[in-house]
Every structure is written in structure tokens, then in C-alpha cells.
């Protein structure tokens, strides 16, 4: 029979440590996912814009960045930062720093592509009309291109954020105690895999489902009547 007592007995460890990252261990799914999403997106905006600049050097560098990180597995990026960077810098990097850096640099490549595609989805005529009334390039970007681009980006952006959110479980390979790792730790002691992994699946689902619900509402609000 299922015994969900294991959840209530370890609720604090699973949620406070595993989900929020408050506790004795370096960890926390939200503590990693939220800054990774925000910083990854911000870096992604710069990379997306860099790919579209008239400067060839900058756009080629940005393209290489994107192709490189899209071509390697995330786990490998985590391992590099975990094993190799500290040797080069001769400086230990804590688990949290490694995980966050890996996610930000890796995900920025994907966010950058979404930003680039979103900007390119705005018809050329929009830029020409804005230019023709005297707006500068920056004003054209800010008032005409980006508002339309963001609307077009929302679905892909939210999908990527959901992927990132779920991928944070990969950080457990360097001992980062996120929700998945916390469940594993409890399971090693209590041997209740069904209850524990069902529980964390529900927690993951609650977050990802809210994200897509929120996105849908946001999209509707952005659509002109």
C-alpha cells in the first residue's frame, strides 16, 4: 500500500531544502531556476541582438556562441565548470556557482535564438515606417520592434523556461541538493520510491503548468482587441 507518511515526515527537507534551497546543503530547485531563467534571458537578449547587428565580427562571435552551446550536452558544460575552470583559475567554485553559471551560459544560447527569431518575425515594413517618421534605431527597437517581437516570442520563451526549470535536476550530479536530489536522499534511507517520485513529479508539474497558464493569459493580454 502507498504510505504518504514518508512525505509528511520529510516535508521540510524536500520542500525547504530541495525546492527552496534553505537548509544545510547547497541546493534548491527554485534558488537555481529563477536566477538562471532571469540571467539566461538577459544574456540571451544581448546574444540575440548581437546576432542581428550590422557588425560582422560581433554577429559571427554571437553565432559561434549559439552554435557551440547548442551543440554540446548541458551535463558536459556542468562538468567543465565543475572540474576544469577551477583548475585554470586555481580557485574552487562552490556547487551553486557552478550550477548557475552552467545554466546561464548554456540557456542563453537558446534564449538568444528565441530573441533573434522574435525580432526577425517583425516585418521589415515596420522598421521602415518607424524610420520614415524619424525614429532613431534605438527608438524603433524600443517602441515598434520589441513590443511586437516579445509577443511573438512568448510561447517559445515559456517552453524554454519550462525546459530549463526541469533541467535544473541535472545539477544533482555535482551534489547540488535540488528537489530531485532531496527525494533521492530520502529514498536511500526510507526506500519509498513510488511515493517520493510521485510527489516531486506533482511539485514539478504544479510549477510548469502555472508557467504555461500564465503565459497564455499574458499572450491574450498582449493581443490588441
Amino acid at each position: 500500500m502507498l504510505d504518504f507518511g514518508v512525505i509528511s515526515a520529510n516535508f521540510k527537507f524536500l520542500i525547504v531544502q530541495g525546492l527552496f534551497g534553505l537548509g544545510g546543503f547547497a541546493g534548491g530547485t527554485l534558488r537555481l531556476a529563477i536566477p538562471a531563467i532571469v540571467l539566461g534571458f538577459v544574456l540571451g537578449i544581448f546574444i540575440g541582438l548581437a546576432r542581428l547587428t550590422p557588425s560582422r565580427l560581433i554577429s559571427v562571435l554571437a553565432t559561434l556562441y549559439v552554435e557551440f552551446f547548442r551543440g554540446v550536452p548541458l551535463v558536459m558544460v556542468i562538468f567543465w565548470i565543475w572540474f576544469i575552470i577551477p583548475q585554470i583559475l586555481r580557485l574552487p567554485i562552490p556547487e551553486y556557482g557552478v550550477a548557475l553559471t552552467a545554466f546561464v551560459v548554456f540557456e542563453a544560447a537558446y534564449f538568444g535564438e528565441i530573441v533573434r527569431a522574435g525580432i526577425q518575425s517583425v516585418p521589415r515594413g515596420q522598421v521602415e515606417a518607424a524610420t520614415a517618421v524619424g525614429l532613431t534605431r534605438a527608438q524603433t527597437m524600443r517602441f515598434v520592434v520589441l513590443p511586437q517581437a516579445i509577443r511573438n516570442m512568448v510561447p517559445a520563451l515559456v517552453t524554454q523556461m519550462i525546459v530549463l526549470f526541469k533541467d535544473t535536476s541535472l545539477a544533482s550530479i555535482i551534489g547540488y541538493v535540488d528537489l530531485t536530489k532531496a527525494a533521492q536522499i530520502v529514498n536511500n534511507r526510507e526506500i519509498k520510491p513510488f511515493e517520493l517520485y510521485l510527489f516531486i513529479a506533482v511539485v514539478y508539474f504544479i510549477f510548469t503548468y502555472s508557467m504555461s497558464r500564465f503565459a497564455r493569459r499574458f499572450e491574450r493580454r498582449l493581443t490588441p482587441a
Binding site: 515606417a129 517618421v133 524619424g134 525614429l135 527608438q139 509577443r151 490588441p224
Partner: protein, 246 residues
Amino acid sequence: MADAAIRFRDVNKWFGKHQVLADINLAVSPGEVMVVCGPSGSGKSTLIRCVNGLEAIQGGDLVVLGESIVRSGVSMSALRTRVGMVFQSFNLFPHMTVLENIMLAPVRVRGLSATEAEKTARTLLARVRIPDKAENYPANLSGGQQQRVAIARALAMQPKIMLFDEPTSALDPEMINEVLDVMTDLAKEGMTMMVVTHEMGFARRVAHRVVFMDAGRVVEEATPDAFFAAPKSERAKDFLSKILSH
């Protein structure tokens, strides 16, 4: 004619190796309406897009409102506030209301207050005969209404010159006249205009001069009466017979 509003002097333009404008010499006087016609791909759009710097020229000189726009250091943004443009596909900003479309440049470029800009915008909407559409989004307007908003948006910067690139080509036939009427009003008020159009009725009634282009060159330049009565070149005759048989 030292005081032409627009003067092309031996203007040449290439896209890569492909020459699109060849030795263009044209002058448009203040208050003049010049209609540009010619077959598709002859360089009409490119010609007028040079006037507000949407396209750069590679040879010759182009003087707009007394200032050469090929000189380095010339402010393109300042030029564009004095030259309005209307496109074939309207290009209204879909995420803004009609009012916001018209107010954007006056507020952001001219630095007008929102109140002032709104007052001007409403006056312009009355002038293009759609005062009641101010709060609508472009998607809820007919093509003819959208194009009139586009004209109002360009006029909001109080330009000295207006450029029209096939403003009625994307419209259903029953909406063409509502746009041409607004353009005719504008011409009567003395606006300097370069109009790419195949509306030969409009050219006959409103234009002071017709320019016929082919393969990047100005082939003929004449008053509408002379041009329609007796086009000189074979290519213009050919073109006219095709257009008028429609």
C-alpha cells in the same frame, strides 16, 4: 530652378552588381505633384526611397529641401521629420491604436506633450475623414481606412514633402477613391508630392508632371496632357496600352 524641393543630379544606385538607378536627373519644385510610373522592377520605389534616405545612393548628388543628403554628417532623422512617406502595405503599428500610431513620432521625435500631440492627431483624423476611429486598432479598420491613418501619421510630423509608394495598389477597388481623395486634397493645399502610382486618372487630374521609368532610367518626363496624349517612347506607349486596357 535653384530652389527645387528635391533635386536628383546624376544619381546612380546599385544593389550589389545590379544597377537599379542610372543617371537620374530630376527636380521637383515646391508645391509640385510628380507622378512616377513604369513597369514593375523599373526602380520607382527605389527612386523615392532615396529621398528620405531609406536607400543610400552610390553616385551623384541628391538635394532635399536645400540640403545635400549624401554629405557625411547630415542628420537623417532630421531629414525624415521633413519628408513623410506612405507605403503600399500601410505599415501601421499593429500593437498601437490609431491615435497612438499618429502620436508616436510627434511625442518621441519632436518632444511634443501627449496633450498637444493628441490634439493634432484628432485634427488630422478629421482631415482624412475618419474622426471616429481614433481608439481602434489597425486590424479593425478597412484597408482604405488604414491607408488614411498612415497618411495622417506621416502628416503629424508636418512634413514639407510627401512620398507615396503605390498607396492604392493593395486596396480593394471600392476603397481606392477614398485614399485618392485625401491625396488630392493634400495636393490642392500645396504639398510637394512624389507619387508612385498606376492610377492614371489621378495622374491626369492632379499631377503637374509625369515621369516614366524603365530599367532604372527616366525615359520620359512630361505634363500629364502631353504624356497621355502622345507618349514619345515605344516603351511608354506599350506600358500605357497595358495599363489603360485594364
